[in-house]
Amino acid sequence: MKIPFNYNLRSVLERPASTAFTAVGIGLVVAVFIGMLALANGFRVALARTGSDSNVLVLRKGADAELSSGIDRQTASVIATSPHIAIGTDGKPMMSPEVFVLVPLTRSNVGTDTTQIANVVVRGISEKAWDVRANVVVTDGHKPVSGRAEVCLGAKIAGRFRGANIGEKLRFAGRDWDVVCRFTAGGSAFESEVWGENEQFMPVFRGQVFQSVSFRLKDPAAFEEAKRQIESDKRIQVDAHREAQFYRDQSKVLGSILTILAVLITSIMAVGAIFGAVNTMYAAVSGRTPEIAVLLTLGFHPRSVMACFLVESAIIAAIGGIVGCIMALPINGVVANTINWASFSEIAFSFRVTPGLLLAGFIFAVVMGVLGGFFPARRAAKLPVVQALR
């Protein structure tokens, strides 16, 4: 016969302090678990959404990042003749030769401390970039007008640096730039960038070179053909990357560091928490020896007694899991910023707590509870009745 569930529930509630301690302990482990994975998740999503599968990014041969690439005007015009580039409604190829540089900007929240700078990506784009990059939407203001010293800010840059607000002037490359708009890009890394016209940036930065060329494929399935056609052109020395894949690769290093860190930290914590659960349950078993003996005398099968203690441990852990999820929820959307070593620039991204992650955290808690409850439960089941009653 099974011991009623109600018995478990009431015995857990009988000792509120001890239940709360263990549950909050497990809850903290779950919260850290969810938090760390949410961070890794947010970072991955930021870079995974940066590229599109229907876009191609062309870099100089051997360059592993936009920063280390260089493409001169002639190469860009050769690429422009590719038959694989989609044609826009105005009859022009949907491509954007881009200038990509890092500029030091001063963080806005630090007063006069000039060491608080970050290297921010400044991307010089062509008019067509707004169409090539389908996920980029201007939310406030108007797009920079060609020929004027105007820039548009990614949503995650706005407000975080000195002069980074619409209507203000942002200073870099020795001159002031009017901030005229703000754009979102579906949470992608573009949101950590400053965009302006490539022809404006070229002379003030590196002279007559672009760093990359992005274009929309006429037929998204024809990437391999486009790659072959462009890379085999004898006049130019370039590599063609699928844009989405390229940015995913850029997230690999930091993304895997974050995940490894999350797994490492939480597994060490989990061992500690399981030990804690073991201790609590052992203490519960030995504290309730007479009670267990009575249960056994009444005719409950030792297996039921064991199940009973496992369920009890799982209940405590489940409470912990819920506590952990509740503790982790507020960090959803909080913006973290760090350096992306693959591009050497600052990237800001949000913690992303997904329902799947919450569920994983909850299951993780229950597993900890069951693991921690196993040996104590077995001891309870094996109690010698006569001795225990005495």
């Binding site: 497990i26 903290l28 961070l39 030091p104 930065f205 914590m269 061992v271 203490a283």
Partner: protein
């Protein structure tokens, strides 16, 4: 102290439980020390820098270069004792998965500028003489299994092609923040191969008096203000600090997690201690009847929790210190000089002490205040 055997007997009552508690305390402190060390390593990198050194960069940003002709003009500025320069090369070796810094440096002046890099005289000589020579940090030698005199070929990411260098010298950093995984080679060789562009990535200057740093920096920047490539000069410390701030709020994150870890384990340990004490109610009553004073019972329980906390601390903190030291861990090259500092150890020990007090005080008080008669009757 004569009751020490009693404490030991108590700890051995549930050997498994004691061991589990000690291990969970040890794990918590190990994690705490590791996370704390990430923060201190980043901060240490920010603090590195001789007060006598200035760094000059292109005002536009750190990826932009400066003409090599600036070297002489800087040398001529009053108060400047020495000038050297370097270029970021961005080489990849092997599968390119291990990140390390590669610089093209002006060998002689660079070594003079950084006495923190200790090179045996014969190796230094060999490095200076051979234009295709490289000087490498000991960590890289270990990682790739390189030997002195070996030729190594790197792929340039910024400057395409295969670049082959001969390892002629191994430096030993006397300050951990300088990094033991830097790869350096001759600027001259680099400049020739990229077509004599005559550009330096950044300049490092040595000045005669640290108190004049601000004036000298200003004098240099003023000199180039109206040129095509204006400069930005600051102390080496500020330069390194700006790198540290690029980590963003990583430090805050690590600190928060560290606190959560400690708090979680604190709860769990305190709970185990309290439950352990509860089942001993009868025994405490007996001890009191035998004549133990309230105070000595309080002490007994505190000593017991202290033993657990201190053993856990020694295992966890000592383990962290030894592990990172012996494996020479540096987070794949991102955190050079990763070493648990004395401050971190002290902080960890304080945490252990708090743990002892927090988890011991409730059971200890309960033991001390236990009404004997009632306790005996209840259980008996």
């Amino acid at each position: 102290m004569k009751f020490f055997p009693l404490v030991l007997a108590n700890l051995r009552r549930h050997t498994l439980r004691t061991i589990l508690t000690i291990i969970s305390v040890a794990l918590a402190l190990f994690l705490f020390a590791s996370l704390q060390t990430v923060t201190t390593t980043i901060a240490n990198g920010a603090n590195f820098g001789s007060a006598k050194r200035l760094v000059t960069l292109n005002a536009t940003g750190l990826t932009f270069t400066l003409p090599i002709s600036y070297a002489n003009r800087m040398q001529a500025v009053h108060g400047v004792e020495g000038v050297t320069w370097a270029n970021w090369f961005g080489g990849k070796y092997g599968d390119g998965k291990t990140f390390f810094a590669t610089f093209a440096v002006d060998p002689k002046s660079y070594l003079e500028m950084y006495p923190e890099m200790i090179v045996p005289p014969d190796q230094k000589e060999a490095f200076l003489r051979d234009r295709g020579a490289a000087m490498v940090g000991p960590k890289l030698m270990d990682q790739f299994g390189w030997k002195l005199g070996q030729n190594v070929t790197m792929q340039g990411t910024i400057f395409p092609g295969d670049w082959t260098f001969t390892i002629r010298a191994i430096y030993k950093p006397s300050d951990p923040a300088i990094g033991d995984n830097v790869f350096m080679f001759h600027y001259d060789y680099f400049d020739e191969r990229v077509g004599r562009i005559g550009q330096a990535g950044w300049y490092v200057l040595r000045i005669d008096n640290p108190n004049n740093a601000a004036q000298i920096a200003k004098a240099i920047d003023d000199q180039f203000r109206n040129s095509s490539t204006p400069t930005k000069t600051g102390t080496e410390k500020a330069f390194n600090a700006s790198f540290a701030t690029m980590w963003g709020n990583v430090s805050l994150l690590m600190g928060t997690i560290g606190l959560a870890v400690v708090f979680a384990i604190l709860l769990v340990t305190a709970n185990a201690m309290m439950m352990g004490a509860r089942e001993r109610t009868r025994e405490v009553a007996v001890l009191k009847t035998v004549g133990f004073s309230d105070r000595s019972l309080f002490t007994l329980v505190m000593v017991e929790s202290g033993f657990i906390a201190i053993t856990g601390a020694i295992l966890g903190l000592g383990g962290a210190k030894l592990l990172y030291r012996s494996t020479n861990f540096n987070a794949m090259g991102f955190l050079p000089g990763f070493d648990v500092t004395t401050n971190t150890l002290a902080l960890g020990a304080t945490v252990a002490l708090l743990l002892m007090v927090a988890s011991g005080v409730v059971p200890a008080l309960r033991a001390a205040r236990l009404p004997v008669v009632q306790a005996l009757r209840q259980v008996g």
